[in-house]
Structures are given as C-alpha cells and as structure tokens.
Amino acid sequence: MSVAAHARWRRRALLAPAGLLLAAAFVGPLLLVASFSVLEPGLYGGVEWHWYPYNFGRVLGAPLGDVEEFDAAYATTLARSVKLALLVTLVSVAVCYPAAWWVSRLPPRRRALALFVVTLPFFANLIVRVYAWMLILRPTGVLNLVLAALGAGDAATDLMYTEAAVVIGLVYVLLPFMFLPLYASIEKLDPALLAASRDLGATPAQTFVRVALPLTLPGIVGGAAIVFIPALGNFVVPSLLGGSKVMLAGNLIEQQFLAARNWPFGAALAMLLLAFVLVVMLAAAWRRGTRGAVA
C-alpha cells in the first residue's frame, strides 16, 4: 500500500466514529424534524405521513393563504422572543464591554486571575444560576428585603414573572458568552492607535467611536451572535422567571412536544427558530467576511 493510500485509510478509520455518531444522532434527526414540520399531526400524538403545510400556516397565516388555523398568538410569541433576545444581546454588550476593557488593561498576572474569576461562574450549573435570581426577584425576595432595609419599602417591586425578570436572568446566564469574545478583540486593540488618535486631536468620545469601536467590532458581532442564539431558544429561564406570563418560542416548542403532543406543529416552530438562527449566523459570517476584505 502506498503512503498516500495508507494515510487515507488511517483518516477514514479515525473519522468513522464521529461520522457515524453525527449522521445517526444529529443529521438524521434534524432531517426527520424538518420533514415532520410538513406532516399532519396524528389524532392522538404522532404523525400522519402525508403532506400538510398548515403547521406553518398556524404561525404565519395569511402569506400562506391559510386563515383557518392561523392564530396571532403564535406570531406574537415569536416576535416577543426576537425582541427579548435582541434586548438581552444589547444589555450584555453594554454590561460586558467596559468590564472586558478593564480586564484587558490589567497587568498580565492580574489579568490571568481576573479572567479566571470572570469565567468560573460560567461553570456553575445553569439551573442553579437561574434559581439565584428567583431568590432575588420574588416578592418576598432579597431585592425587596434590601429595599425595605434601606427604608425604601414603598419602592418594593414585583419583578417576578415579568419580561424584565426574563431579560435579567438571560443576561446573567449568557454573560460569559459575550465577555470572552469581547475580551479577545479588545485585548488585540493596540493602545498606540488610541494614543495616536488623541494626539491628532480627537476627543476621548471620538477616539472610542471612530477607532476602538470599529476595531473591536468582530468581538461584538461574535458575542452578539453567540448570545442571541441561545437567548432566542431558551425555555428554562422564561419558564422559571417568566412563568406563564412571559411565554417565549422555547416554551411554545417545549409545550408542543411534551404537553400538547402536536409534534408536527412543534417541528414547524423549531424550523422557524432555526431560520432566525441561520440568518444571524450568516449575517455574522458576512460581517466578518467584509471586515476581512477591508483589513
């Protein structure tokens, strides 16, 4: 056997386990869900194996010429999910950017320590981190106890089961996803460029907007994509902090699969969610592509 042929066989053998695993338990299942989304729901769960486009009609309605099954509540829920996911992304950037800047300008030893300290909470179980905010936001929770202790008992608020609670919870849970890419791009930012900008007479604000921000945009875009995607599909945070008052796309999908047992409709919702994710990923990749061409 030639050397090249040997290398080829070695490669095939090494890739076989991953190939089999991903074909059987990833690609196959995804194709199955995609086909379920255009099949008719069975009477008692399950599916009837024939063409049925109305699952999408229930959400999108008129554009598909389907007004009978259409219910605006589904479209509203999807729109609310996109709105809150965008809000979570914006808040995360705003909260993380100064912090990432701070860490990147620390002396090396302290920087390593700060990175460790910022990363560690990410390894706490997700459910534990969400629970922490239930303790804080519930009516008898820590927030109101603190307000009362400060003599501002009148200001006591019931944030539990509101959109604000869901946004706070999602930001807290997804923060490291935003912090790390931001840090990576701010760290690469050459301080000499900022100094040059100031020497040339730019105000600090101008320097930030025209030099720092464009140069760290890849980190912002990367962090935004990676925060937006899980924020859009998450159902644990809205179910615990939003209750039944703040339903999001994830809750809707979970319900269709585990409670309502309308799998084809759930599959259609999941496909719509994937479509949003695909748009975000392509936009992020395109953004990087054009930047790469300029740089």
Binding site: A18, L22, A25, F26, L30, F123, P181, G250, V280, M281
Partner: protein
C-alpha cells in the same frame, strides 16, 4: 490616564461582585435555620444538608418537609453515570476526529469541520426535540442510554475543538472554518477549557436531557428544575450549594491545569 482608569476599575469590581453575589446568596441561605420563612435569617444550621443526605434533623413538621432523598439520590446516580459515559465516549470520538483533521489538508476537510461545529451552534432545544423525535420514531427506549447518545453529539464537538487546538497550536485553518460558520467565539472559549470540562458540560445540561430522559432517568438538573417549578424550598439551597461546590472544584482544576500548560 489615571483619571480614566479608576472609574473603569470600580466598574470592573462591581461587575465581578454582581457575578458572584447571586450564587453567594444561595450558599448563605443554605445554612439558614429559619423553617418558617426561608428568606429571613434566623441562625446557622446544617439541617438542610442533613435532610437531603437522609440524616436525622431537628426540622420538625413546621418546615412542611417532604422527604425526597430517594429520588434525589437516584438523580445524582443518573447524572454521574451519564456524565462519565458521555465524557469517555466523546473524548475518544472527538480526539480521533481531531487527529484525522489535524494533519495535512485533504478534500472535504472543511465539510467535516463544518459538520463538527454545527452541534455547538445549534440551539439546545432544537437538538433536544430532534433526538426525541428520532429515538421515538426509530423505537429506541428513552433513558440513560439515549441521554448518553445525546450528550455525546455536542460533547464530541467540544472535545474536537479543544484537542485540535492543542495539536495544532493555533491553527488558522480551523479558526477560519469555524468563523465562517459563526463559531469564532468558541475558538476563544477553547482557550480556557479542557476535555475534563466535558464532564461539567454534561452534568450541566438540562435542555437536551429534558426531552430525551424519559420517565425513569431524571438527572440532577432535571430534579432541581422540577422542584423549582413546584415551588422554592430551603433544601434546594443545600442541593444547589453542593452542586456549585463540585462544579467549581472540577472547573477550577481544569482551568488551572490548562493555565500550567500554556
């Protein structure tokens, strides 16, 4: 310059404080002796820990204490079995893939890299329902086995990324391939992780497991999630604190080892 740095340092400290304060609250409350109102501090006790470990307590009936020790113990066992099995399998699968893709370029390498990145950028819930539909349609029973398969799908990708990075130093090729697919942040992420952390990621997963666990294979996160949906109870503080401590010790060890190799 000093004027610009100080507010930033203040902000940074507040940022870190807010990051830890919520979880610190749980730890604090887990030792609260108040059996009537769990939010008001009334003294120090180990009773909640004793309660979840099945030891005798002085709680009395006032706490409306329901003994869930048996199901908690089952959930811990399920989580451990799943995480160990999924870590072993995905380390083998992911490392093999990294060895195959790390060498000289060949036709189709980019496609393989793209395929391996996808499970990490896919929303969890989509992967969860896809696996549920698949297992049910094929007729495979839901349980520990199905959870292990589900975890292996995304853990293999993590292991592949981490091992590839280790093998290649900084492979620009890999970075480019994953960046094209919107996964550039993950290449950042890999710098602070280690295959050991696959164990923590498996232990943490709730969403995918939620769909494919069936009725008998409740894991620890599922157990806590279920308990939280029924209402907050002081025992949950103790459970959460133990889980928190375990995750931090394993993760800190992993990060420390990673740091030493750099």
């Amino acid at each position: 310059m000093t004027l610009r740095v100080r507010p930033l340092a203040l902000y940074g400290s507040v940022f870190v404080l807010l990051l830890y304060a919520p979880i610190a609250l749980i730890v604090g409350y887990s030792f609260n002796a108040n059996v009537v109102n769990m939010m008001l501090w009334e003294g120090f006790t180990f009773d909640w820990y004793r309660a979840i470990l099945g030891l005798p307590t002085t709680l009395g009936r006032a706490a409306n204490h329901v003994d869930t020790t048996t199901s908690l113990r089952a959930a811990v066992v399920n989580s451990a079995v799943v995480a160990i099995a999924a870590t072993v399998v995905s380390t083998l699968v992911g490392t093999a893939a990294a060895l195959a893709l790390g060498r000289a370029p060949f036709r189709g390498r980019r496609a393989w890299q793209g395929l391996l990145v996808l499970p990490m950028v896919m929303p969890d819930i989509v992967l969860g329902i896809a696996l549920l539909v698949f297992f049910t349609t094929v007729g495979l029973p839901l349980g520990r086995g199905s959870i292990v398969v589900g975890h292996c799908v995304f853990l293999s990708s993590y292991v592949w990324v981490i091992v590839s990075a280790r093998l290649a130093g900084l492979s620009t090729d890999l970075e480019q391939a994953s960046a094209d697919l919107g996964a550039a942040p993950f290449t950042t992420f890999r710098r602070v992780t280690l295959p050991l952390l696959a164990f923590i990621i498996s232990l943490d997963d709730l969403v995918i497991t939620w769909f494919i666990a069936g009725v008998d294979a409740t894991t620890l996160p599922m157990f806590i999630y279920g308990a939280l949906r029924r209402g907050i109870k002081p025992e949950i503080n103790a459970m959460a604190t133990l889980l928190l401590g375990f995750s931090f010790v394993v993760a800190a060890t992993g990060l420390w080892l990673r740091g030493r190799r750099l």
